[in-house]
């Protein structure tokens, strides 16, 4: 009954140290890099996750909302634990635990039973349903299933149950975020548009952003402006909630009535053209007021654009407090440019983050030497190239589309840089290359509180510059010979 491969039975032979040494050297070579970049089918250490993860993030951004995975239960456990580890916070979500028979009969029974139980036990105000592979492959009809669920009173007829098809074999987490978000907005705003009504508010969508500090920073900026706002899919309190001795399953999120009323907003800004295209497209066609999509405001220039756009949309002056903040951020970068100027970086991550990293680095006179995008369109590549072409510090920098972190390793070993910007998964390549990794992306599993420090806005510039410059100085202090070890740097 054994040895089904029918390979010959051998005595165990250990690989010789010489052979190990040879391969160890070989994987750092140009020759290896070429073989590595020739890969057609195998993906090694990808930077992207699958759609449902982003869908769950979006769902957590709304008041009293329970994310609901229609599919195998293991999927939900994976999404939850990923968010737990990054935020070091709870990430409550249920699944309807589809199994073999689902393949035969479809998932409607699981969905209905799951909705009924989840509603009874966790008393949500909204259940946001999204799919993992199984129902996508067998082709479950969510529209019908959920209509039936309400008829069967699995959930109250008036309970919003938005749903999104988020197949894992297509796009990445940012697309799942977009699909879930647009479905939630469609569901909540249905019939809420009132002729002539204007909330006077700005609707702000942060995009598929896993940094709670960013959300708080957006809100602080708008507060400085004195502009009323509705932040849509606001995860800041969900994933940065107080520890006060009591657990609240729904710790934060956009108030549902605010989300519903957002269709009557004065203006809507969707941050992250690459993580909110569907949502923005639908908003453009359906929301009152003005609509703008903008890149993440990372770095001084992109933050200026955001600030000016907000001022323009609401016909306001930029408040003195923000002018001063800007001046202090500029002070921080002029005072410390010498620690970053001319340094080479490798950066990777989601497209919206990449645009931010690259323009920030170029502003500092640093080189985003290797720019690696795990999944991205020609449009992403073109926009990145345009950023590079706009600065003398972009010369010689190269963009690698649809590549993974094993490709990055080859780049770091054959064409070295001074540091990497990415997420925790880059730590292995960075260690092999002997350079620091700045954990500005998602996920961060191995440092604390990174998600509490904004990367956007002027404060984000100060945060990035501080972390990067001080790390470079740390390295100098830790590696210099005694006679170069000085009090001042």
């Amino acid at each position: 009954m054994s040895n089904l491969l029918g390979l010959e039975v051998k005595k165990i032979v250990e690989t010789t140290p010489e052979e190990i040494e040879r391969v160890k050297e070989w994987i750092n070579t140009e020759e290896y890099k070429e073989k590595n970049f020739a890969r057609q089918a195998l993906v090694i250490n990808p930077v992207h996750a699958c759609q449902p993860l982003g869908a769950q993030l979006a769902a957590h951004g709304f008041e009293g909302t329970l994310p609901f995975v229609h599919g195998s239960q293991g999927c939900a456990s994976y999404y939850r634990s990923t968010l737990n580890r990054h935020f070091r916070e709870p990430a409550p979500a249920v699944s309807d635990s589809m199994t073999e028979d689902g393949a035969v009969f479809g998932g409607q029974n699981n969905l209905h039973e799951g909705l009924e139980n989840a509603n009874a036990i966790y008393k949500p105000k909204m259940i946001a349903v999204f799919t993992s592979c199984m129902p996508e492959v067998i082709g479950d009809d969510l529209t019908a299933f959920i209509k039936n669920a309400k008829q069967k009173n699995c959930v109250p007829k008036d309970m919003p149950v938005p749903f999104a098809n988020t197949p894992s074999f297509n796009g990445t987490h940012i697309h799942g975020y977009d699909s879930m978000l647009v479905s939630i907005l469609q569901t909540l705003t249905e019939g809420k548009q009132i002729e002539g009504r204007c909330t006077g508010k700005l609707n702000l969508i942060a995009g598929c952003d896993f940094n709670t500090g960013d959300y708080r920073e957006y809100k602080r900026i708008l507060k400085e402006f004195g502009i009323p706002y509705t932040m849509l899919a606001d995860i800041s309190d969900t994933f940065d909630s107080p520890c006060d001795g009591s657990y609240h399953i729904y710790a934060g999120g956009t108030k549902l009535e605010d989300a519903a009323d957002s269709i009557n907003g004065k203006a809507t800004i969707a941050i992250g053209p690459y993580s909110t295209p569907k949502s923005f497209g639908w908003i453009k066609d359906n929301y009152s007021g003005k609509h703008v999509t903008m890149p993440m405001p990372m770095g001084i220039a992109k933050t200026d654009d955001f600030i000016m756009k907000v001022a323009e949309l609401f016909g306001k002056e930029v408040p003195a407090s923000l002018k001063n903040e800007r001046g202090r951020a500029v002070d921080a970068i002029t005072d410390s440019h010498q620690y970053m100027h001319g340094k080479k970086f490798a950066v990777y991550g989601d497209p919206d983050y990449l645009m931010g990293y690259v323009s920030f680095l170029l502003e500092m006179g640093a080189h985003p030497h290797h720019i690696l995008c795990s999944r991205g369109s020609k449009k992403v590549e073109k926009e990145l190239q345009a950023l590079l072409d706009g600065s003398m510090y972009g010369k010689g920098c190269k963009i690698y589309m649809n590549k993974d972190l094993w490709h990055l390793r080859s780049l770091l070993m054959t064409d070295p840089v001074d540091a990497v910007i990415g997420d925790s998964h880059g730590k292995f390549a960075a260690r092999d290359a002997g350079i620091p990794l700045f954990r500005f992306g998602f996920p961060v599993f191995d440092r604390v509180n990174k998600h509490r420090y904004p990367l956007i806005g002027y404060q984000g510039v100060v945060n990035m510059v501080t972390e990067i410059c001080n790390k470079f100085i740390d390295i100098k202090d830790e590696t210099c010979e005694d006679r170069q070890f000085e009090l001042m740097r």
Binding site: G74, F169, H425, F445
Partner: protein
């Protein structure tokens, strides 16, 4: 294990059953009916399970369970260090399970170990046209880029089984072409009710494709053993393997912590299988017993009391030479363990712990807590079977609550009522209880610490438990205003 019945003050069969009833009261009728048999009050004397188990999870209740793929990739296959493990299907499953279990590995990553994420990253077209071709190419690329990999496992994700790919034949033909073992494992996540089936499927695959395909180079010895169900979480195997060697035994292979394919493949040559995680690998112990007549013994490496019992039970199966060595080992470590207990017990005596872990620790760690003076007031498993619960009954104090695949709601309610000083469970539960101001340790991953196995591990375990429970940060949870 102690034969006299242990009672916990304030906990009776009645109180526990009342707690269960009250907890389930919010459930819809059908769900309540399904869940009720999975919750019970322990009957220590009976020595047998007080709950049903290994049943489908009730939809929508928020279970902590994973899937068959998780049991195969994360638990059984992932720790084998010299193989490339391909997560075959969409990108997510492999990405989520990449580096998140803490099964540690020796060797050089990308050269002699492959603690990386390999995936076929299925796209729409692969679903439509099937992924077998892609798999074939992928296997060639893996073999070319990682020439020292001793083999490749192909772990299927849900779509693979649904679209009717035939990974078994691809594996077979590629194995011939590349002349390395390529193991197909049909562990789609939708199979079975939990990780558990993934373990079983993986065991069967080892049986079908691996065991018996290698032989050890060294001559046999009466002291040759294999260490089964030791996954080297936080370096556990680097504590248990040396310990067994100190007892005079030759650990020829470890399943599968820091494991090596060929040594596992030759395990049919050992004289005894020592199993730690019964749930995930008892299948292969039984297979090797039937097929190769290899006896097996179940041990517990948590805490000095259990370790001592285990080593002596082990010694019973060998000659005086081993018996003497074992006694010497015990004599050597007893005083060290005593001093650890003297340091921490005064700070932990009488503290209460609740557990919800996988298939082993909810019972195996109880003794270690008791060594520190602590009581386990509730325990349960994500994916255990009846034989696990039978083994649990005598370990738990009488009438304490036992929960099988509990929902987050149930677990939270029980903790609300029982006010434990420590909860030991997983990452999904950690922050829920910490928000409640209850100290918590991740007991799947040792919470980024470890090892917890063996004498070496107990020192770390004791320190961590004390740190969690006595951290002054907990005193600050309640604001004075």
């Amino acid at each position: 294990m102690s034969d006299n019945i242990r009672k916990i003050e304030g906990i009776t069969k009645e109180s526990t059953e009342a707690l269960i009833a009250e907890t389930l009261s919010v459930y819809p009728e059908k769900a309540r009916k399904k869940r009720a048999p999975h919750l019970g009050a322990n009957d220590q004397a009976s020595g047998s399970a007080c709950v049903k188990s290994n049943k489908k999870t009730v939809p929508g209740v928020m279970s902590a369970r994973g899937c068959a793929y998780a049991g195969a990739k994360g638990v059984v296959w992932g720790p084998i260090r010299d193989m490339v493990h391909v997560s075959h299907g969409p990108v997510g499953c492999g990405w989520y399970s990449w580096g998140t279990r803490r099964n540690m590995m020796s060797g050089i990553t990308g050269v002699t170990n492959f603690a990386m994420q390999f995936t076929s990253d299925f796209q729409e077209k692969d679903i439509v046209y099937g992924g077998d071709k892609k798999l074939k190419t992928l296997l060639e690329e893996a073999h070319e880029l990682f020439p020292l990999a001793k083999g490749i496992s192909v772990l299927s994700e849900c779509p693979v089984g649904l679209i009717g790919d035939d990974i078994n034949s691809v594996a077979k033909s590629s194995a011939k072409d590349l002349d390395i073992p390529i193991i197909p494992c049909n562990c789609e996540g939708f199979r079975g009710v939990s990780q558990s089936l993934g373990h079983h499927i993986s065991n069967d695959t080892i049986r079908d494709y691996i065991i018996g395909t290698r032989e050890y180079a060294e001559p046999e010895s009466p002291y040759d053993i294999a260490l089964i169900g030791e996954y080297n979480i936080g370096g556990d195997a680097w504590s248990t393997k040396p310990l067994l060697e100190e007892c005079g035994l030759n650990v020829k292979s470890v399943w599968t912590g820091d494991g090596e394919l060929e040594k596992i493949a030759a395990t049919h040559k050992v004289k005894l299988n020592v199993i730690h995680c019964y749930r995930s690998m008892n299948y292969m112990c039984k297979v090797m017993e039937e097929k190769f007549g290899i006896p097996w013994i179940e041990l517990n490496f948590f805490g000095p009391t259990k370790i001592k019992q285990s080593l002596r039970a082990l010694a019973e199966l060998f000659d005086d030479n081993i018996k003497e060595k074992v006694e010497a080992v015990i004599a050597k470590y007893d005083p060290i363990m005593q001093s650890i207990i003297e340091e921490y017990k005064p700070r932990l005596d009488g503290k209460k712990v609740m557990l919800l872990v996988g298939g082993l620790r909810p019972r195996h760690t109880i003794g270690a807590y008791e060594d520190l003076g602590m009581d386990c007031v509730g325990s349960g498993y994500e994916f255990a079977h009846t034989d696990d619960y039978d083994r649990t009954a005598p370990e738990m104090p009488d009438a304490t609550v036992v929960y099988d695949d509990p929902s987050e709601y149930e677990f939270e309610k029980f903790a609300d009522a029982l006010k434990p000083d420590l909860v030991g469970s997983g990452i999904k539960e950690k922050y829920v209880f910490q928000k409640m101001g209850i100290p918590f340790r991740q007991m799947h991953s040792w919470d980024y610490s470890g090892p917890y196995h063996g004498y070496k591990g107990f020192e770390v375990f004791a320190r961590d438990v004390d740190m969690a429970i006595n951290s002054p940060t907990w005193n600050l949870v309640k604001a004075p205003f």
